[in-house]
Subunit: 286 residues, 2 copies
């Protein structure tokens, strides 16, 4: 199952090649990235289209997650045994979990997200620079049942190791679009009949008011900006409307991941209510 | 305004004494902690009861945030000029912002949170070990208008530097209780007529269902556990009910700060709706 003997040198050509993928330029050249830990590797292997090109395992990782390594080998993925030191070099985490996959990029062109009808819930990340924040929003979007997440050109690379980790496997779950200029993405979404709402703490209209007015039921793209920057006016003009998550206490603002969770779950709830109402309609009609 | 000349040695007694507060044991002995950056320092100074005992500023921090240093001096707080190197040593951040305060502990005994009537919305942190997560939940609780946050005895120290930073000033905004055994806190809350809801991804009852049934309108304490652990059964028995944030997509779970944001804003909305309904009642009666 395991190819060759244990790699113990961080200077091995294979390790060096994988280690390079910590750099964005190397990732973009090869369209490959690293996914660390059992959850990410499991999700990558479960994805159709052979997302995993190589798997590195330590002795303890290989015995602890034997079924993952076996699944990879059964799929024809080369599995390399590595020492703990080599894994530490590759994984860029304080406590690597003994499994690390080299994966093919999973992003799609923007137009693909419209190929199966109008998406109902989309996330558009504008200038989100912190990879942990971006990955957490991706995970929350997945949990809220979003149809796609668009990382616009000025946002962090979703294949950054911290973003992959924070997404907790969600990078492999839902359509992700990378590098589209923000204005282009907003136009395409709007042309597809999706309302673009900018989450902005300074907006006059509040989320609950929009929700009560039924404004969250239609297909929506939430535009989220960098926490520290908020949304500058040149981004706000790209949205149909700016909406604030209300602050009931004395905090100045919410952090990005908390604000995104509140907005996305409000949309999911409102759209779920719409689905239930539709089901009720057809029941009443039938 | 500034006391003495610039401190340039990290071996100065004053710097060493402050630096020790990075350790929990030193904080607990002195009941003092460090708050870094303009936002935290401003909030600490705004707090009644002289929370700040000393302020360290770099030349650039002192000129950039002149009004903060002036406010501190006007309040009789000793302001010490320090070199960039000394600030880096004290601040424990990659990019210190040139201002750092030594503050008195701000937590209250548990019974104090009942002193002004029954709190409507309380957060109870059980075994939350990651200081960034805990601080973000504290900030979200503040934003959602919670009345208090209880860090139970097995949770991270809220005075940990990362937690203080992630709270973005909220540590100084709302009543915080530290170190109460979890069972004792849950009992006291329940005796005060507050329903204790455990946020648990595995719970059978979902948040939206409880909300629709009116179950979020009454005074509520949300019990949140460590993300990695979830809530073990010995914690679940402390709650009146376990409630799941629904997962609409394929994510396995939400991270703690996203789940807390969804739960706390659902409560805030439901309780706000109750207040509005009451206001409507009295208008109708009048």
């Amino acid at each position: 199952m395991i190819v060759g003997s244990e790699i113990t040198s961080i200077r091995s050509a294979r390790v060096k090649a994988a280690r390079q993928l910590a750099r964005r330029s190397a990732r973009q050249r090869s369209r490959l990235f690293l996914a660390e830990g059992p959850q990410a590797v499991r999700e990558a292997l479960a994805r159709p289209g052979r997302a995993v090109t190589e798997l590195f395992v330590t002795a303890s990782g290989g015995s602890r997650y034997e079924e993952i390594a076996a699944d990879a080998a059964a799929d024809g993925v080369p599995v390399h045994a590595v020492s703990g030191e080599v894994m530490a070099e590759l994984a860029q985490t304080v406590t690597p979990q003994g499994l690390l996959a080299v994966c093919r990029f999973v992003d799609l062109p923007l137009e693909k997200i419209f190929s199966e009808g109008t998406p109902r819930l989309v996330v558009l990340l504008a200038n989100v620079r912190d990879p942990g924040n971006a990955g957490t929003v991706l995970r929350t979007a997945d949990a809220a049942g979003a149809d796609a997440v668009v990382f616009s050109d000025a946002s962090v690379d979703p294949y950054n190791g911290k973003c992959v980790r924070a997404s907790a496997g969600s990078l492999f779950h839902l359509p992700v679009v990378v590098g589209t200029p923000l204005g282009e993405a907003a136009s395409a979404l709007r042309e597809a009949g999706i309302r673009v709402l900018a989450a902005d703490g300074g907006a006059r209209r509040e989320l609950d008011e929009l929700d009560a007015a039924g404004g969250l039921r239609r297909p929506t793209a939430w535009l989220f900006g960098n926490e520290a920057w908020g949304l500058p006016s040149d981004l706000l003009v790209l949205a149909d409307e700016a909406i604030a998550v209300p602050i009931y206490g004395r905090a100045e603002s919410l952090n990005l991941s908390a604000a995104a969770a509140v907005c996305l779950y409000a949309s999911a709830r409102a759209q779920g209510a719409r689905r239930a109402a539709r089901a009720g309609d057809s029941a009443a009609a039938g």
